[in-house]
C-alpha cells in the first residue's frame, strides 16, 4: 500500500485536531518552549523544518518515522503514479487551503502572488473552487510561463508592470475579490518599501519582509479576502492596518491543515481534474542531494521542484 503523509503532524485527538485544524495540534511538538514564548502558544510538529517546530527529521530519506500514522497517512488510490500524488503532502494542500480560505463566489477574480509550487497549486485550486479568472504575479519568466501554460492563469511580471495599477485595470476598476500571498517573509520587490525592509533587516530591527502582504492588502477590492499562505516567522513593519480596516478586508491565514484536504485532493487527482506532476523539473538520487538543493535554492536551470528517488 502506498501512502501520502502530510508534512505537518497532527495527533488526531486534541481540540484542534478534532476541529480539523491539524497544524495547530497541541501534542506533536516535542520542543514547544520557543514557540510558546514567541507566539504565545506552541504549534504542531513539522518534518524537516525548524527546531522550533519539533525538529523532526526530514522526509528525504529511505525510511521516515510517522507518528500517529492513522491520522497523518492517506492511502493512494490504485493506478496513480507517484509523481502525481507526491505534492499532496505539502505544496498542494497549502495552495488549496489558500484558495479555500478565500470563500470564492461565482465571478470572482483571484490574484496569486508567487508562482512557485504553492502558488501554482493555489491557481489550480482557485479554478477548481469556482474562480472566474486567476491572475498570477512573479518575476521569473519560466515560472510565469508555467502558471500561464499549465495552470491557466493570466500573468503579470512585477518587474515590468506596476502590479496594483495593472490589477485595477484588469478587474474593471474593482480590484481582485481575493488575494493569495504565496510568497511570505522572503519577498522581493522593486519599490522604496523593499529597500526600507532590507535596511531594517540588516540592522536586525525587522525579521520578515512583508512586501507582498502590503501590496495584496492595497490591491484587494473593498470587502475582499486576503489569504496568507506564504510563511512568516517573526515581526513585520509598516503593516497597512488602516487600509485593511477601512476597506473591511477579511484576513485569513495559517499553516496548512493538510489532513482536512488530502482525501478530496486525491479524489480530484484520481478523476483527472488535477495533476500537480508538472512541478517536477528535476530528478536526483539521494546521494546527489547537496547539488540538487543548490540547484533548487538558486533556481538554476528553471528549477521548480526536484524529486528524490531513494532506491536509485
Amino acid at each position: 500500500m502506498r501512502v501520502v503523509v502530510d508534512s505537518i503532524i497532527g495527533c488526531g485527538h486534541c481540540f484542534f485536531c478534532q476541529s480539523e485544524q491539524y497544524a495547530l495540534c497541541d501534542n506533536t511538538n516535542p520542543k514547544p518552549e520557543l514557540t510558546d514564548k514567541l507566539y504565545g502558544y506552541p504549534t504542531a510538529g513539522i518534518y524537516g523544518y525548524s527546531h522550533a517546530f519539533g525538529g523532526f527529521a526530514g522526509s528525504h530519506a529511505t525510511y521516515v518515522r510517522v507518528p500517529f500514522a492513522d491520522t497523518n497517512a492517506f492511502e493512494v488510490p490504485e493506478g496513480l503514479p507517484d509523481e502525481r500524488v507526491v505534492f499532496a503532502s505539502d505544496a498542494l494542500p497549502t495552495g488549496y487551503m489558500g484558495a479555500d480560505l478565500c470563500n470564492i463566489q461565482r465571478g470572482d477574480v483571484v490574484a496569486v502572488w508567487g508562482c512557485g509550487g504553492v502558488g501554482q497549486m493555489a491557481i489550480l485550486s482557485a479554478y477548481l473552487l469556482g474562480a472566474e479568472r486567476v491572475i498570477a504575479i512573479d518575476r521569473f519568466p519560466e515560472r510565469l510561463a508555467m502558471a500561464r501554460d499549465r495552470a491557466g492563469a493570466e500573468i503579470l511580471d512585477y518587474e515590468q508592470v506596476d502590479v496594483r495599477e495593472a490589477l485595477r485595470e484588469m478587474t474593471g476598476g474593482r480590484g481582485p475579490d481575493a488575494c493569495i500571498d504565496c510568497v511570505g517573509m522572503e519577498a522581493h520587490g522593486t519599490g522604496i518599501d523593499y529597500a526600507y525592509d532590507r535596511v531594517k533587516q540588516a540592522v536586525r530591527l525587522e525579521t520578515d519582509r512583508p512586501t507582498v502582504l502590503r501590496q495584496a492588502i492595497l490591491a484587494c477590492r473593498k470587502g475582499g479576502t486576503v489569504s496568507i499562505m506564504g510563511v512568516y516567522g517573526g515581526f513585520v513593519d509598516k503593516f497597512p492596518m488602516g487600509a485593511a480596516m477601512n476597506k473591511g478586508l477579511t484576513l485569513k491565514m495559517g499553516p496548512q491543515h493538510g489532513q482536512r484536504y488530502i482525501p478530496r485532493l486525491l479524489e480530484h487527482i484520481r478523476k483527472g481534474e488535477l495533476d500537480p506532476s508538472y512541478l517536477i523539473t528535476h530528478r536526483a538520487r539521494l546521494a546527489d542531494g547537496q547539488e540538487a538543493y543548490d540547484t533548487f535554492k538558486e533556481k538554476r536551470d528553471g528549477c521548480m521542484r526536484v524529486v528524490f528517488t531513494p532506491e536509485a
Binding site: I9, C11, G12, H13, C14, F15, Q18, D26, N27, T28, N29, P30, K31, P32, G45, G54, G55, F56, A57, A61, R65, P67, F68
Partner: protein
C-alpha cells in the same frame, strides 16, 4: 455556572506570575528624562572608567531601568507616584504565597473522571512526572515517591490531604517545612474536557540560591510543572508522548560511525 471544584481558601484564580508586583509609578515625561540622563551617565562612565566611572555607571543603569520599566523602588518605599493615573489596587501575596507558589493549568480533551482515574493510579505517574521513578502506595493515605535526578536517587513520603473523586488531589508531607502539591480538576466549558490545575507550594527556606542551582540542574519547579502537565496531556489525549529522540541527524555524526 458555578465550578464544582472544591475551593481551597488560599488557592485562587490569578497565579503570582500573572500579577504585576511592581506597578507603574513614574509619569511618562519623567520616564523619558530618567532614561535619557541614565543613558548619558552610562556613556560617560564607559569613557571615564575607574571607581567614579563604576559608580556613575551603576547609577545611570538604575536610572535607565527606572525609565524603561516605569517603576521606581524609591517612590514605592515613600508611597509616591508621579503618574496622574489612579493608583492600582494592589494584589498582595497571600500568606501561603510567601512560600514559593507555582500554578500551571492545562486543558485536556477528556472527561474529569477519566483524568482522575488516570492520575490516581501510582503506576502512571512516572510516565508523565519528570524525574519521578516510582510511586509506592503505603496504604492509609500515604505514598512514597522515588525520584532520580542525574543519577541521584532519593525518596520522600507524602500523605494525601484531600482526595475528592474527579475533583481534587492534594499531597503534603510530614517532614520539614510545610509544602503542598495540589491537582484540581474542573470542567472546561462547552464540553471541551477538563481543566487541570497544578499548584505547588514550595518552602522558601530552600532559598533563592538553591532554586537557581536546581534550575541549572534541570529541576526548576516551574519547568517541571509545565513539562509534567504537557506530558500528562499528551498521554491522556494522544496515548503517547511525542519525541524525536534517537532519530538520525546530519548535524551530529554518531560516535560509532565516526570511529569506524
Amino acid at each position: 455556572m458555578q465550578s464544582k471544584t472544591p475551593r481551597l481558601d488560599d488557592i485562587h484564580g490569578i497565579p503570582a506570575r500573572a500579577r504585576k508586583m511592581k506597578p507603574l509609578n513614574v509619569g511618562p515625561n519623567e520616564r523619558v528624562v530618567s532614561a535619557a540622563i541614565g543613558g548619558g551617565l552610562v556613556a560617560w562612565a564607559l569613557w571615564r572608567r575607574g571607581a567614579l566611572g563604576l559608580l556613575a555607571g551603576a547609577f545611570g543603569g538604575a536610572l535607565t531601568h527606572r525609565g524603561l520599566r516605569g517603576h521606581c523602588p524609591a517612590y514605592e518605599a515613600l508611597g509616591l507616584s508621579s503618574r496622574k493615573a489612579p493608583k492600582p489596587t494592589p494584589m498582595p501575596l497571600g500568606a501561603a504565597e510567601e512560600l514559593t507558589r507555582i500554578e500551571r493549568t492545562v486543558t485536556v480533551a477528556r472527561p474529569a473522571n477519566e483524568v482522575y482515574a488516570f492520575l490516581r493510579d501510582p503506576a502512571h505517574v512516572p510516565h508523565f512526572a519528570p524525574h519521578v521513578e516510582r510511586v509506592e502506595d503505603l496504604g492509609e493515605g500515604r505514598i512514597r515517591v522515588w525520584t532520580a535526578l542525574s543519577g541521584e536517587r532519593s525518596s520522600w513520603e507524602a500523605h494525601i490531604d484531600l482526595d475528592h473523586e474527579a475533583r481534587a488531589l492534594v499531597l503534603g508531607h510530614a517532614e520539614g517545612p510545610p509544602e503542598r502539591l495540589a491537582i484540581l480538576l474542573g470542567d472546561a466549558p462547552g464540553g471541551r474536557g477538563t481543566e487541570i490545575r497544578l499548584v505547588l507550594e514550595l518552602s522558601k527556606t530552600r532559598g533563592l540560591l538553591f532554586r537557581a542551582l536546581t534550575a541549572v540542574a534541570g529541576a526548576d519547579p516551574d519547568a517541571w510543572a509545565r513539562a509534567g502537565l504537557r506530558r500528562l496531556k499528551m498521554l491522556l489525549e494522544a496515548g503517547e508522548i511525542v519525541t524525536t529522540e534517537g532519530q538520525p541527524s546530519g548535524r551530529f555524526i554518531p560516535l560509532t560511525r565516526a570511529a569506524a
